[in-house]
C-alpha cells in the first residue's frame, strides 16, 4: 500500500500517512490537482505559508510500463494565480514510486528567511540536511555535487537561483540518466514555490525500496504489451520515426510551413531562418561534430520513444541537453535568433539558472519589443540570463518574472500571454484550436493541456481544419483526455499511438486499472479527465477567475498575422462552450 509523505517546512518534520480514500485512485496531475483543490485556500499567496508543493509520480510510474517516467509538480502558481501542474521526465518519478510513495506534499514555511535545505528520501525514511553550501548554485553544479555526496544514480529534484529568488519564471529541475540538469517542470513558476519554502533540492534513492504494488499482474502485463506494440508501430513514436530521429524539433519546419511558427514576439507565423534551427539541422550538426552529441536519447530508463538529444559544441564536447522544439523556438525564432549554438547557450543558461525556457523566450522577446535590445541580439539575450537574472538584479527580476511582467515594465502591448503565462510555439491565429486551448485551459497558455495540433496539423486522431473556429468540442476532448494521461505517468507522446490505435488506448487505461485494481475501461477516460478539470476549474473560480480570463490577448483579434493574414476569430461564446459540461 503506497503512502503519502508530508514534508513540513515550518518545523522541518516529515510524516508518512496512508493515502486517504479520496486520493487513492489518482496519480500525477490527478493527485497534485486533487490535493491542491482540497487542501490549499484558493486565495492564498502562492509564495506564502498556505500554498503547498505537491510532487507525484503517475499511476504506473516505477513499473515496467513503457515511457511512463513523468513526475507531476503542482501548487498555486505565482505566475498565473491559478492552480498549476507542470511535469517533467528524468529520474524522480520511478524512484519516488519505487519507495512506495504516491507523492510528496511540501507544506508550511520556514520561520526564518534565507533558509536552504535538502530533503533526502531513502527506504529508511526522510531526513533534512543543511544545504546552505548549495545556496545560489546553478543546477549543473548542484546535480554534480549531489551525485558525489549521495551516490551515482540518485534522483535529484532542485531549483536554481531563479527559484531561490522566488521569480515567477522559475521551474523545477529533475536530473536525467547522465545527471544533466535538463529536465524541467518549467511552467508556472513552481520553482519559486519550492524556493519560498526554503527547499533547495530533494534527493531520492530508491535502492531496496518496496517497488510499486500491482493489483492484477497478468492484466498489467497484457496491457503494457498492447501499448508497447501500438507505440512501436506508430509513425510518430516508433524507432527511427519522426520523434526518435529528429526529436520534437522536427516540428519547426512543419509549423513554419503551416505559417503557425511564432516569430519575433508573435509578429509573423514564419521565420526566415527556421531551416538552420530545425530538428533536421540539429541532427546533421550533431552527427558532423562526431562527439558526445546524439539524437534518439532517452530522458529516463524504460522510454521507448527516445525523443531527446544531447547537443555538442563544434569540438564535440557536451554543450547542453535537450534542444527541444519549444525551447529552440522560444529562445530562437521568437527572439529572432537563428543560430543553434547561440540557442544552446541560452537553453543551457535557463537550465542552470533554473528557468522555464518558454517563459524566458517570451520575456526576452517582449523586452526586445520594448526596445531594450534588438531582435536577433543573441549576445544581449545571453547577458540578460547570465548576468541579470542569475544575479537577481532589478532588470533580472523583471525578466525572471516572465513575459507579462516584462511586457508591463516596458510598456508593450503585444504581450502573448493567457492568465499571465507566456504562449508556447503554436500561433493561435493560424491554428485556432490550440488558441481555444490556450484561452480555456486551467493552466494559462499551455499547449500540452489540449494538444489539438495533433489533429489540426499532424492529422493524428482524425483531421481538423486549423483555420475553422469551431473548436470547443475538439479542445474539450483533448483537455479531458490529457488530464487523464497526465495522471497516469505516461508521457504525452504516448498519446499519438493512443489516438490512432484502439489497442494503444486500451493498453494505457487497462495498465492503470491493473495497478490500482479498478475496473476502468477506455469509456471512463473522458469522465476521469473531467473530474480533474472540474477540481481545477473550481479552484480557479474560487481564486477569482471568470470567463473574462478565458480569452486571448486583444492584439490577436485585430492584428493580422503573416503569411496568412488571419486574426483570432473564435467567438467568445465558442470559448465559453469548452467548459459547459
Amino acid at each position: 500500500m503506497s503512502r503519502l509523505l508530508r514534508v513540513n517546512m515550518t518545523d522541518r518534520t516529515t510524516t508518512y500517512e496512508e493515502v486517504p480514500e479520496h486520493y487513492r485512485h489518482w496519480g500525477g496531475r490527478g493527485l497534485t490537482s486533487m490535493v491542491i483543490a482540497r487542501e490549499v485556500p484558493p486565495t492564498c499567496h502562492p509564495l506564502g505559508p498556505n500554498n503547498k508543493l505537491v510532487i507525484a509520480p503517475g499511476i504506473v510510474s516505477g513499473t515496467a510500463a513503457p515511457t511512463s517516467g513523468r513526475t507531476a509538480f503542482g501548487g498555486k502558481s505565482p505566475l498565473t494565480g491559478t492552480i498549476k501542474e507542470s511535469n517533467a521526465g528524468g529520474l524522480s518519478s520511478q524512484q519516488i514510486a519505487r519507495l512506495g510513495l504516491k507523492g510528496l506534499v511540501v507544506e508550511g514555511h520556514p520561520r526564518e528567511a534565507g533558509q536552504s535545505w535538502l530533503l533526502k528520501i531513502t527506504k529508511e525514511g526522510a531526513e533534512f540536511l543543511p544545504a546552505s553550501d548549495l545556496a545560489g548554485k546553478g543546477m549543473y553544479e548542484v546535480c554534480r555535487t549531489l551525485w558525489e555526496r549521495h551516490g551515482k544514480g540518485v534522483a535529484i529534484i532542485g531549483i536554481g537561483p531563479a527559484g531561490e529568488h522566488r521569480m515567477a519564471g522559475a521551474g523545477i529541475c529533475v536530473n536525467d540518466m547522465e545527471n544533466t540538469a535538463g529536465r524541467y517542470a518549467g511552467r508556472g513558476g513552481l520553482g519559486a514555490v519550492m524556493g519560498a519554502k526554503g527547499l533547495k533540492a530533494i534527493v531520492i534513492d530508491s535502492t531496496g525500496g518496496p517497488g510499486v504494488a500491482i493489483a492484477d499482474d497478468e492484466k498489467f502485463k497484457a496491457a503494457i504489451a498492447k501499448l508497447t506494440e501500438a507505440s512501436l508501430k506508430h509513425d510518430v513514436t516508433k524507432k527511427e520515426g519522426a520523434l526518435n530521429t529528429y526529436g520534437t524539433n522536427v516540428l519547426a519546419n512543419i509549423m513554419n510551413e503551416a505559417g503557425g511558427y511564432p516569430t519575433r514576439n508573435f509578429r509573423s507565423g514564419r521565420f526566415e531562418l527556421t531551416a538552420q534551427i530545425s530538428g533536421e539541422a540539429a541532427r546533421e550538426l550533431i552527427g558532423k561534430r562526431n562527439g558526445v552529441g546524439r539524437t534518439g536519447h532517452p530522458c529516463h530508463n524504460g522510454c521507448i520513444i527516445q525523443c531527446s538529444n544531447v547537443y555538442a559544441h563544434p569540438d564535440g564536447t557536451f554543450h547542453t541537453s535537450v534542444l527541444e522544439y519549444e525551447s529552440v523556438w522560444a529562445l530562437g525564432a521568437n527572439c529572432g535568433i537563428g543560430s543553434l549554438d547561440d540557442i544552446a547557450d541560452l537553453v543551457r543558461a535557463c537550465n542552470d539558472v533554473g528557468l522555464d525556457t518558454i517563459e524566458m523566450g517570451g520575456a526576452i522577446a517582449v523586452t526586445m519589443e520594448g526596445g531594450l535590445l534588438g531582435f536577433g541580439d543573441a549576445e544581449g539575450a545571453k547577458r540578460l540570463l547570465t548576468e541579470e537574472v542569475r544575479r537577481a538584479t532589478p532588470l533580472g527580476r523583471i525578466i525572471g518574472n516572465g513575459t507579462e511582467f516584462a511586457g508591463r515594465a516596458f510598456g508593450v502591448v503585444r504581450v502573448p500571454t493567457v492568465k499571465g503565462q507566456s504562449m508556447p510555439a503554436y500561433e493561435p491565429r493560424a491554428v485556432k484550436g490550440i488558441g481555444v486551448t490556450y484561452a480555456t485551459t486551467t493552466m494559462g497558455a499551455d499547449h500540452t493541456a489540449g494538444y489539438t495540433i495533433a489533429s489540426e496539423i499532424l492529422g493524428v486522431g482524425g483531421k481538423a481544419d486549423p483555420f475553422k473556429p469551431e473548436k470547443a468540442e475538439l479542445s474539450r476532448a483533448f483537455q479531458a483526455s490529457t488530464a487523464f494521461i497526465d495522471a497516469t505517468g505516461y508521457c504525452l507522446f504516448d498519446a499519438f499511438a493512443v489516438l490512432d490505435f484502439p489497442e494503444g488506448l486500451e493498453g494505457l487505461v487497462e495498465s492503470c486499472a491493473a495497478v490500482l485494481g479498478t475496473r476502468w475501461t477506455v469509456n471512463d477516460v473522458t469522465a476521469l479527465g473531467l473530474q480533474v478539470l472540474k477540481a481545477e476549474r473550481g479552484f480557479n473560480e474560487a481564486a477569482g477567475f471568470t470567463k473574462a480570463h478565458d480569452r486571448l490577448p486583444e492584439f490577436m483579434k485585430y492584428e493580422p498575422l503573416p503569411p496568412h493574414g488571419v486574426v483570432f476569430d473564435v467567438p467568445d461564446e465558442e470559448l465559453d462552450r469548452v467548459h459547459a459540461y
Partner: protein
C-alpha cells in the same frame, strides 16, 4: 513557376540540398496538379508524407490544382507525422 519547398531526404531534389537553408525547387509549370509538379522533380508519392499548399495542410493533395506563384511544402516519409 511553382515554388516547391523540400524537407528531409527530399532536399536532394533541390539545388541547395543541405538542411541549414531552405531547399527550394522551381517547377516550370503554369498550371497543373501537385502530382504533376512533383513528378517533374522525380518525386514519387511513396516518398512523401504530408503536403502543404500555400501554408495549408492538404490531406488529399495529389489532384489539387496549383498554378505559377503557388508554394508547395513537401515532407518525406520518414517525417511522417500523419497517420493515413
Amino acid at each position: 513557376m511553382i515554388e516547391v519547398h523540400l524537407y528531409g531526404g527530399l532536399r536532394r531534389h533541390a539545388a541547395q540540398a543541405g538542411p541549414h537553408q531552405a531547399s527550394v525547387a522551381w517547377v516550370d509549370l503554369p498550371e497543373g496538379t501537385v502530382a504533376q509538379a512533383l513528378a517533374r522533380l522525380g518525386i514519387e508519392r511513396s516518398a512523401v508524407s504530408n503536403v502543404f499548399v500555400n501554408g495549408r495542410y492538404d490531406a488529399a493533395p495529389w489532384e489539387r490544382r496549383v498554378r505559377s506563384g503557388d508554394r508547395v511544402g513537401v515532407f518525406p516519409a520518414d517525417m511522417r507525422l500523419l497517420y493515413v
